[in-house]
Symmetry: C2
Subunit: 570 residues, 2 copies
């Protein structure tokens, strides 16, 4: 095998066998854009399904999936802070006009880590270290902010700007109140979405890992900060072990994650809110179901200067890859009430919810009461105004005056004591209004697809085998007639048709030697290969070959679709 690295293998098989390739290939390609071919598409669908299983279906009592548009009006991204903050530093060569991402350029040219530095600081480093255009050697200009939102115009009126969403989150925040209503006004409530986003990267590299358009699986998990309601959920997984490299550890120079149980991480204050930790555990389970072993992933806490503008605490879930090292496959942000508060401010809508107390709180308080008959007789047309003023006064102060037997003086008028009395009333507070807090787990699908393929691709006797879980395999079964023979072919076709009718993705293949056909199936990860031979005609049995062990077993062909389906269906 001439491909030396795992990444090379993934890209070679990806392209040749129809998983993925760069978009707009016949026009020379467009960086940061990838197409998914037939098998890539099926693999992606299976990854999304696995995600929905772990996060939505297994939590359906507290989770709802929605869909919102990709294009949004300007006010949404003003409120979200993206118009202002969703930028990368850009620098232009003064000689050739080429544009570069300034932080990357500096890091590559000087090795200096510049995350969190301002554009002025970056410009200064460029000047001091004499960083120049890597293409023509020309002098570089000032570092500026380049906004990564794709901008467009909605409708025929100039100035009615629209933007492509760079994340799914705003769709969930804007709809929180409505979905909360549909879900019978209960917290906690997760609102999930799977969909496309756009980020207008300055110069995307790293193949499928940094894209200008890709698919996110994300949910906003809303909870009452005073009563998160996590106990029952956290209890079930409190002893699960997480590998965490905290920001304190990072600042102290530590490179290796620590191993902690969920309860240790929550109680030790390393994870700032229990739901954040709960979903980190589920995310770890999800990644394991995609074929990544626990020791090849950990959660790294972002430093304050690395965090997005809305975040109180963020963990990245990192997975080890061969070429790119530790790669972020998901982000776990504690967004507090930032988003709902911002949208409440910008939309002037009330986005708070009412939390009922378990038992209403009863408060006794004093209240001024006016004897209208007396007041009316004394002051006539002025009486209404006076009454309003009296009601607005502090009952305690009014009582003190009355106790001394004095008259209340308002704007020169003297109100005699018999026109006013003080009462004590009981008031029930049945609950209070709160703005929910949010934790947000967010996954990039294309990255996961790459990770699944890198972890899945194995070499055996000079062949490539995509050894992924049968649940993830694009094609579940291949059916072959052993040799060129009409009877064998017709039986094999019939078996293929049975799978097709059940809606199980299958291939029928009669071209070339049986060995070549097995090899073709192995490469796209078909877990089961059924071969029809002459014995099949006699006794109705077929062989089922396992992709990973290459072992064959003889099984009856009746009931075959069911027995195969059982091996990958839940």
């Amino acid at each position: 095998m001439s491909l030396s690295s795992a990444a090379d293998k993934v890209f070679e098989v990806g392209k040749r066998r129809g998983f993925f390739w760069q978009s707009y290939e016949i026009y020379g390609g467009l960086s940061g854009m990838y197409d998914l071919g037939p098998y890539g598409m099926m693999l992606k669908e299976n990854i999304i399904n696995e995600w929905k299983h772990h996060f939505i279906r297994k939590h359906q009592e507290i989770m709802a999936e929605i869909e919102t548009p990709i294009i949004g009006p300007e006010v949404v991204y003003a409120a979200s802070g993206h118009l202002e903050s969703f930028t990368d530093p850009i620098v232009t060569c003064q000689r050739c006009g080429r544009k570069f991402r300034a932080d990357q350029l500096i890091e590559e040219a000087t090795g200096i880590k510049v995350e969190g530095k301002s554009n002025e600081e970056l410009t200064e480093i460029i000047r001091k270290k004499n960083v120049r255009c890597p293409v023509c050697g020309g002098e570089l200009g000032e570092v500026k902010a380049f906004n990564l939102l794709f901008k467009t115009q909605i409708g025929p009126y100039e100035g009615s700007n629209g933007y492509l969403r760079p994340e799914l989150a705003q769709g969930m925040f804007l709809n929180f109140k409505r979905v909360y209503g549909v879900m019978r006004e209960k917290l906690p409530l997760g609102i999930a979405q799977v969909g496309r986003v756009g980020r207008n990267e300055i110069s995307p590299r790293q193949g499928m890992l940094r894209l200008r358009e890709f698919t996110i699986m994300e949910f906003e998990f809303f909870f009452d900060p005073e009563k998160p309601g996590h106990e029952e959920y956290v209890e079930r997984v409190k002893n699960r072990v997480l590998r965490i490299l905290s920001s304190d550890d990072r600042i102290a120079g530590r490179k290796e994650p620590r191993t902690l149980t969920l309860s240790e991480a929550i109680e030790g204050g390393i994870i700032k809110t229990p739901w954040l930790g709960y979903w980190m555990v589920i995310s770890q389970e999800f990644l394991k179901s995609l074929g990544v072993p626990e020791e090849n992933m950990y959660f790294e806490e972002k430093l304050p200067e690395e965090r997005a503008h809305y975040s109180r605490q963020t963990f990245d879930q990192l997975v080890k890859t061969e070429r790119w090292g530790w790669v972020e496959v998901s982000g776990h942000a504690y967004r507090g009430d930032y988003d709902l508060s911002r949208h409440a401010l910008y939309s002037k809508q009330d986005l708070a919810v009412f939390r009922q107390f378990e038992t209403a709180i009863v408060k006794r308080r004093k209240k001024v009461k006016v004897n209208r008959a007396v007041l009316g007789k004394l002051f006539r047309e002025r009486a209404t105004d006076l009454e309003r003023t009296i009601y607005s006064m502090d009952p305690e102060k009014v009582e003190a005056i009355l106790k001394e037997g004095l008259a209340l003086e308002i704007g020169g008028e003297k109100i005699p004591p018999e026109a006013i009395s003080i009462e004590e009333v009981e008031e029930k507070e049945s609950g209070k209004r709160i703005i929910p807090h949010v934790v947000e787990p967010s996954f990039g699908v294309e990255r996961l697809l790459y990770v699944v393929m890198e972890y899945g691709l194995k070499e055996k006797e000079d062949r490539l085998i995509l050894s992924i879980s049968p649940r993830l395999s694009p094609i579940k079964v291949a059916v072959f007639p052993l040799v060129e023979d009409d009877k064998l072919k017709s039986l094999a076709r019939k078996i293929y048709e049975d799978f097709k009718q059940r809606g199980i993705p299958a291939v029928y293949d009669e071209d070339g030697s049986i060995g070549r056909r097995y090899a073709r199936a192995d490469e796209i990860g078909v877990p089961f290969a059924i071969t029809v031979d002459f014995q099949s005609i006699e006794d109705g049995t077929v062989t089922v070959r396992d992709r990973d062990t290459w072992k064959q077993e003889r099984v009856p062909s009746s009931g075959l679709t069911d027995s195969i389906a059982q091996r990958f269906m839940r």
Copy 2:
């Protein structure tokens, strides 16, 4: 029920019960954009699944699904013709500056049908009929073309324009050759995609029926125009009946569709290519599976002036709706080789495929042969040039000269007859290069969602029931404890958890009277409601109530998930 029309009911239930509502509601809404709530999202997913079942999974030997980006570079939409042709006529009020779709404005103001008229003709009608601004009464300007592509910029360089796709098709055309390779170079081949598109409508109306962003399910079906390979497929459905209103009938003033079998329509030349007809039959089946009876749909052929620029023949599949009359739910276009030819031209890539003849064609032809030894001796360094010239000559003419015993004269040199001979050779042509033709069935998902809800919503005893196929129902089962009792609740919870673990969408509901709970479930289309009562505790049976008949049956609670699942799974 105070809602008088079916559309009102759909929109009321849609919003109140969380199917769909206008996007960006808290910011006052954005026309042409809709959000899907939890139940709408599940319904949409089930509609897409149903489509994939009919078109992809049941045809998986000739069908592949891919995914391509929404944003594309300018050259793609130059080649596709959209930059030039994907426009609507727009007119601006000279007084207030408001903009209108000119054709709609004229039709509403004058009743004149203007489809296919040029912008100059539209301007003339506005002048002649004195059509004015419907808002301020001001005078209207010239009618212009407004391009409906959403435009953006890709990357940091000004002028590197990108566009949001207005259909999915270009993604399939650009990838045809690669997918054809992955699918082992066989025709016919369908390349399918489900995804979002954007159309920057001037003033979208009609709620979910005309959107600026929506989801399309579409495939490009590539076939060899000389050997379409449809026989086996068409044979199976040739006697299926289609309701068709042809363009000839329309021109002749006919309003009602005719009823024809597929073979009649193909053989009568009403459908111009068999695959177009085949997929129309499957589309009709698909719509029936969504709950639309055959008599409420037909296929209307577009008139030449109504067709898109790429189409040789187009049928719209129309479904009757209460408020909007006959509404297009799918389009069936015969695109010929327009798209592959255009992209071949613009990309300078060879997008043709090689078709092997079943038996190679053998052709005999004459060939000039040069005796190099003789030629070399006579002409030395000039021999090579002369040889090349001789080979480029017409063998027939050379033979005629030789037959007369003359010498061949080239540039003053005389080539003696013994230096040349004429041979007869056999040449095999094993195939030829062709550009496949394409038929394209294309469905709008949100329209179908509306149609499913309009056809599904029934009124019974003053209640609304979403009576849709259990396969389409967002939630498959509701579980209720009959009354407030811990034992009943705990058994009901357990049953609910069983469904959840199986990944079957279910709800557990203990709030309010059992009647109210049934009503809530009916309204979102839950087909089966399981109630746990005191008898359940004694003998392990529960009641299953049918949403449509309201009949209850008593069944054992063991094996309940399986027996319920069987009612909606394939």
